[in-house]
Amino acid sequence: MTQRLFAPITLLLVLIFLIGPFLIIVAASFSAGDTLAFPPQGFSFKWILKVFTVESFRDSFVMSMFLAIGGTFAALLLGIPAAYAMSRYKLPFSETVRTIVSAPIIVPGIIVGLALLRYFVVPIGLSITLALFLAHTALVLPYAVRVVSASLNNLRSDIEEAAVLLGSSRLGAFFRVVLPNIRGGILSAFILGFVTSFNQVPVSLFLSGPGVRTLPVDMLGYMEIVFDPSIAALSSLLAFLSIGIVFAAERFLGFSRYV
């Protein structure tokens, strides 16, 4: 009897371990009390509503959205041609390029942030916004290359030759037959990149300067001063936003095929 219960109980504990913190935050965000606490004291929407009134949250949210959308877009502009070149041509340093492109995944964000700050922002006098933009592009690039590569590898290369023999140019063949067939992969890469960028803390922490910060960094700063449940409320909102995006992607695109 105990043996039969062992597996389900283990599973339950793992699930609690994974989802528990999230549930606590969600519960805390509906608290009626004045400090971040669990179990929540009472029930109210006041902290959820408060989130929308904090001005710095609004600014940093816009900043984070700009970095996530703009940085992912830029990463795809670089990553799609790179992935295409690696999948279609036998390049002399293909493996090296693949490794370098993957580097931002492996190198800790703290180091990337410090290096960017010390050797780019400070000496060149790069603007903070531009530095953040470049850093986020670089961070998202590996995901863009990998996910797009995966869908390119599933696509036969002879359809491009077929298009050329039917009168298309090489470039035209890319837009007419390659792009439409890797659309799902590109959208998946975009979502993955967006979420990665949006949730990024260490690199942004180093590069954030006066008046320019991303939402997660702003939240950290806010918590150091104020310890009310609005942070929990904001976290819950962001979590539901992410879940919503990924769920929609899975539902409409079969997201998990590419990641």
Binding site: R156, I159, A162, A163, L166, G167, S168, R176, V177, N181
Partner: protein, 341 residues
């Protein structure tokens, strides 16, 4: 170059990096001909086909088509069609859109486009499938779409890469007839690449047998089948028993053998299994294998000449495994080879 040549390959050389795939190949192809490029993998047949399509640039030589030098003409300006082995249909487009692809690039629109695509699909028996997505189709149907997609462009030359190899036996026969019909109706010059001698013999007007990037023999199916010029071609078209001739004697693995009958002036002799006479003759062998093949019985004999394969009428009494059997290699029914090795 002959006057009747429509497509001419003139000292064509092709290479992948430093690896030479085809060397100084000369070939004249007539208008409206159905030509097979036959050879084992790596013989350069596919490379030759790709260079005609413009997907590969020659390192030497010229390609002329319909009076014009197309050696440096881009693939999308050549009016050469190619049906890929994998069919290479566009998976995001319907059957109709696949066939319309090239026509649209030519600027064809509206009713003219619809009519042209419809007649193209009708000619391959797929009129009812216009709105299907291509991955839903069977292999045979996909190939028909690929054929229609190339044919509506009215190419001067249609190339086909292993057109029958991905189909099952029944479909293969059907497609073979289909290809011959399309070719006769349209009069298009058709070149197909294959490693299967049966396909080449059944389909082609003329066969080019290739070996190591060069042409080994050109001829009609009858010529290739009955009169192979070399041991390579003989082996490729089913002569199982092939021997060299040296100093007027047949050379076998174990030494030289005298045969009844005068040897012709040739580098070698080849016998099909059917040409071996079993039961009497000056030579002796032991039966090492026997299998019933319907109308005939196939034997594998261990002999002083090495392994001999024979095929005789199944109505004749069978020789049991392990028994001695007399046989003859009748010189009169051998194919003389001009080249050996």
């Amino acid at each position: 170059m002959s006057d009747t040549s429509f497509l001419t390959l003139d000292k064509l050389s092709l290479a992948y990096g430093n690896t030479v795939a085809v060397k100084d190949l000369d070939l004249d192809i007539r208008k409206g001909e159905l030509l097979a490029l036959l050879g084992p993998s790596g013989c350069g047949k596919t490379t030759t086909m790709r260079s005609i399509a413009g997907l590969m640039t020659p390192v030497g030589g010229r390609i002329r088509l319909d009076g014009a030098d197309i050696t440096r003409v881009a693939a999308n300006k050549r009016a050469v069609g190619l049906v890929f082995q994998s069919y290479a249909l566009f998976p995001h487009l319907t059957v109709f859109e696949n066939v319309a692809f090239g026509l649209k690039l030519k600027g064809m629109r509206g009713a003219e486009l619809e009519a042209k695509v419809a007649s193209g699909l009708k000619s391959v028996g797929l009129a009812a499938f216009a709105d299907r997505k291509t991955p839903e189709l069977s292999g045979g149907q996909q190939q028909r779409v690929a054929l229609a997609r190339s044919m509506v462009m009215e190419p001067k030359v249609l190339l086909l890469d292993e057109p029958l190899s991905n189909l099952d036996a029944r479909l293969r026969l059907e497609m073979r007839t289909e290809l011959q019909r399309v070719q006769k109706e349209s009069g298009v010059t058709m070149i197909f690449v294959t490693h299967d001698q049966v396909e080449a013999l059944a389909l082609a007007d003329r066969i080019v047998v290739m070996k190591n990037g060069a042409i080994e023999q050109i001829g009609t199916p009858e010529e290739i089948y009955n009169h192979p010029v070399s041991s390579f071609v003989a082996d490729f078209v089913g002569f199982e028993n092939i021997f060299a001739i040296r100093d007027g004697k047949l050379v076998a693995g174990t030494g030289e053998v005298f045969l009844s009958g005068k040897l012709p002036e040739a580098a070698g002799l080849a016998w099909r299994p059917r040409a071996i006479s079993l039961g009497s003759g000056p030579l002796k062998g032991i039966v090492r294998g026997v299998s019933f093949a319907g109308g005939t019985r196939e034997y594998v004999l261990e002999t002083p000449l090495g392994i001999i394969k024979a095929e005789v009428d199944a109505a004749l009494p069978a020789h049991a495994l392990g028994t001695d059997v007399a046989f003859d290699l009748p010189v009169g029914s051998a194919a003389p080879l001009k080249r050996f090795g």
